[in-house]
């Protein structure tokens, strides 16, 4: 009896879920963050369930299988995606269409798995060591000190350090495409000397970002400025939440994520997040780093460009915004901290604008360009990918600094053509 009592207690706790985010999976991830039935964890090894949200590029199917295999069995796979469920999982994966049901359904599935009413997912990867056993010796693998492939993996070989002349082993590994530290779909080959990044090769670019629908609509038809600005504020606030989480302020991040879904025009940004907490973000590792120089500068767009002092903003061309007295906010430094400050300021500004726009019932006038939260969105040129800037920005930074810099950029290209087609088809 004691066991079932313990089990009942365990079932009241939220289920840890590892999210795999694909194209157009952003909304489902936000819903997952808000669900009280689950907690989103950073590593599949501590998760009970894998949530696949959005469609995964063909090139990343193998990585998806690897991550799936790293959730300890018995596990649940939840499928919230336009993609078909892989054949091996078709019997066991739960398919969820409504994103707001995702957390609930995962929790129920894990409970019935634990109760023995459902069987676990099969393993998709073969149960083999990563490399064939090579070498000699008594239960070891290699020859000499460094040779062979002991226990299925080779050993590192020394290389000159980039900062001082020591010859030590670099730590080389590829990270992503489903690392919570990188934008979804981005994979990179990292070379670490100590904890300093000596090499950052982009293996695959992040998936195209899907913006909130209102920004696409604004291209074609007049939409309420209040709606546009609320969506912008929510977008910035969610990115700030990610930056807070990365720097160890998870509770504040959760607070922001909850506020982001129920923003009201005229709300003060300081009510959403303590100003001092955001100020302290500017004090963390890497806050002064990540400044884009010279010829690459022109490739920055939207808030990232404005964080470096460039007042470009498509909203200035919209009479509705001019009537509301809109002036773009800018920062000077163009660093990681400046971009975070820019997000905060733009979110605050957006909330104020939304209040004024709601009062004046302002409607945007489509002029072929909409200022989206990640830069100017036009029919011909949606914001393009800038993940190739990362190597020059990250090499030489310590790991924690590099992660802060990564969290201050919007690297991904923005989806345009297929979104418009989808929306057109729906009408």
């Amino acid at each position: 009896m004691a066991v079932t009592w313990l089990r009942r207690l365990a079932n009241q706790a939220p289920v840890p879920v590892f999210p795999v985010v694909g194209i157009a999976g952003e909304a489902a991830l936000e819903a997952l963050y808000l669900s009280p039935a689950v907690t989103v964890v950073q590593s599949p090894k501590r998760a009970r369930a894998l949530a696949v949200m959005g469609s995964i590029d063909y090139r990343d199917q193998q990585a998806l299988r690897r991550v799936h295999g790293q959730v300890p069995a018995p596990r649940v796979t939840a499928w919230c995606s336009a993609m078909a469920v892989p054949q091996e999982l078709s019997g066991s994966a739960i398919v969820v269409d409504a994103t707001d049901q995702l957390g609930q359904q995962i929790q129920q599935a894990v409970h019935s798995l634990d109760a023995g009413q459902q069987s676990s997912d099969p393993n998709l990867c073969p149960d083999q060591p990563p490399a064939p056993w090579k070498g000699v010796g008594d239960g070891h693998g290699g020859e000499g000190m460094m040779g062979g492939k002991p226990y299925g993996r080779p050993m590192a070989m020394p290389e000159d350090d980039l900062r001082d002349g020591l010859q030590l082993d670099p730590l080389v590994f590829s990270i992503g495409p489903f690392s919570p530290l990188l934008p979804p779909g981005m994979a990179a080959k990292v070379t670490l000397h100590g904890d300093v990044i000596a090499g950052w090769e982009v293996l695959s670019r992040p998936y195209e970002l899907t913006l909130p629908a209102v920004f696409y609509q604004a291209l074609e038809q007049p939409v309420a400025v209040a709606d546009l600005e609320l969506a912008r504020a929510a977008f910035h606030i969610r990115r700030l939440a990610a930056a807070l989480q990365l720097n160890g302020l998870g509770a504040h991040a959760r607070r922001l994520r909850h506020h982001a879904v129920e923003l009201k025009p005229g709300q003060s940004i300081d009510d959403l997040v303590n100003a001092r907490v955001l100020q302290s973000l500017r004090w963390v590792a890497g806050a002064g780093k990540g400044i884009v120089h010279d010829e690459n500068w022109i490739r920055l767009r939207g808030p990232a460009a404005r964080a470096g002092g460039d007042a470009r903003d498509a909203r200035l061309n919209d009479p509705a915004y001019v009537a509301l007295g809109f002036e773009p906010v800018v920062q000077k430094q163009g660093s990681c901290a400046a971009r975070w400050k820019q997000w905060r300021d733009e979110a605050g500004q957006a909330l104020t604008l939304a209040a004024a726009a709601a009062k004046a019932r302002a409607m945007s006038s489509p002029s072929g360009a909409v200022e989206s939260p990640v830069g100017e969105l036009t029919k011909s040129t949606p914001p393009v990918d800038i993940s190739d800037l990362m190597p020059s920005l990250l090499v030489g930074l310590e790991w924690s600094e590099a992660m802060s810099v990564l969290a201050s950029f919007d690297m991904a290209a923005v989806r345009y053509t297929d979104v418009i087609q989808l929306q057109g088809g729906g009408e």
Binding site: L6, S43, R46, G248, H252, H258, A285, S400
Partner: protein, 308 residues
């Protein structure tokens, strides 16, 4: 000391350890709920629910781990916390382990904890735990000098390294008043030894959770229990060294000790939810260039004050 007292002492420590670790988790949950503005459930039950969930969760192991280290590190970390808690005097007559060198013993617990936290990150043979482990050692080796200086500061007026003697000197005036720099500096040590909040270098979110990224189930349960227990043990030591321990009017000694300990826990948890994580390199410089000279100053102040 009779054998009854002996067993009673041991039982008190063990009970305080378990109940205290639960309290730390509950306080953390309550403060998290306050910050997020969301109440996911009964804050008193949440730690138990999470523990029960971890109890039933499947476990994980990595490729060719250093198994003895993997198994020992969480257990011994909890043991260190228990040893630290055993040093704390509950009242004038009841001190579970009243070593004449109690302060040095607590000092030894800190670097031993560093060794275990390092081993925790080292043992899985995985990248992010390992990065966390190396980082943590830079922290662990930086704060011990600060800790030594502030604790020597409280030993000066007591003319003893015995923690009960240190508490006795605070009957009229607490050390937090006499040595105002001591407690703030010591709190940094507390955040470090239990890798809490801004000094969580090993289980950090910028490493996918660091050492925590490769553990699951009961090991995770044990490790987080140990961490909460260490925070508790530290708070009890801090309450004894700076807040007068069991001294206080009206209420009996042990109640005062518990209240003061929980006050320090609350303070540390709030700090943990307010300050962002410090960069490892920056903390190294801060610890040696700012905190260490400040602890010199604190000791000098304590020395002059003790002679007056």
């Amino acid at each position: 000391m009779t054998s009854t007292l002996l067993i009673a002492s041991a039982c008190t420590v063990l009970l305080a350890l378990l109940v205290g670790a639960y309290c730390v988790a509950a306080i953390d949950g309550a403060i998290t709920a306050r910050v997020t503005g969301q109440t996911p459930g009964n804050p008193l039950l949440i730690p138990l629910q999470n523990a029960a969930r971890l109890w039933h969760a499947p476990h994980n192991e990595t490729e060719t781990p250093d198994r003895p280290a993997l198994r020992l590190a969480p257990v011994l970390y909890l043991v260190l916390a228990a040893m630290g808690l055993a040093l704390v005097p509950w009242s004038r007559d009841f001190v579970p382990v009243d070593l004449t060198t109690g302060i040095v013993f607590w000092g030894a617990i800190e670097p031993l904890a560093t060794v275990l936290v390092f081993l925790k990150g080292w043992a899985p043979n995985a990248h992010f735990p390992l990065l966390g482990a190396y980082r943590y050692v830079s922290l662990g080796l930086s704060y011990i000098l600060v800790s030594m200086f502030v604790l020597i500061g409280v030993a000066l007026p007591a003319e003893s390294l015995q923690i009960s003697a240190v508490v006795d000197t605070q009957a009229e005036l607490w050390n937090v008043v006499r040595q105002p720099l001591g407690l703030p500096l010591f709190l940094v040590v507390g955040l470090g030894v239990s890798f809490w909040g801004p000094l969580n270098f090993i289980d950090a979110d910028d490493l996918h959770g660091g050492a925590a990224s490769e553990e699951a189930g009961r090991v995770q349960l044990l490790w987080s229990t140990g961490r909460a227990a260490m925070l508790l043990a530290f708070s009890a030591i801090a309450a004894s060294a700076f807040l007068g321990g069991w001294h206080g009017p009206w209420l009996p000694g042990p109640v005062w000790l518990i209240l003061k300990t929980l006050a320090v826990v609350v303070l540390l948890v709030i700090l943990g939810h307010t300050l962002p994580r410090v960069s490892p390199e920056r903390f190294l410089t801060i610890a040696w260039v700012i905190l260490l000279p400040l602890s010199f100053l604190s000791l000098a102040g304590a020395g002059v004050e003790a002679l007056l």
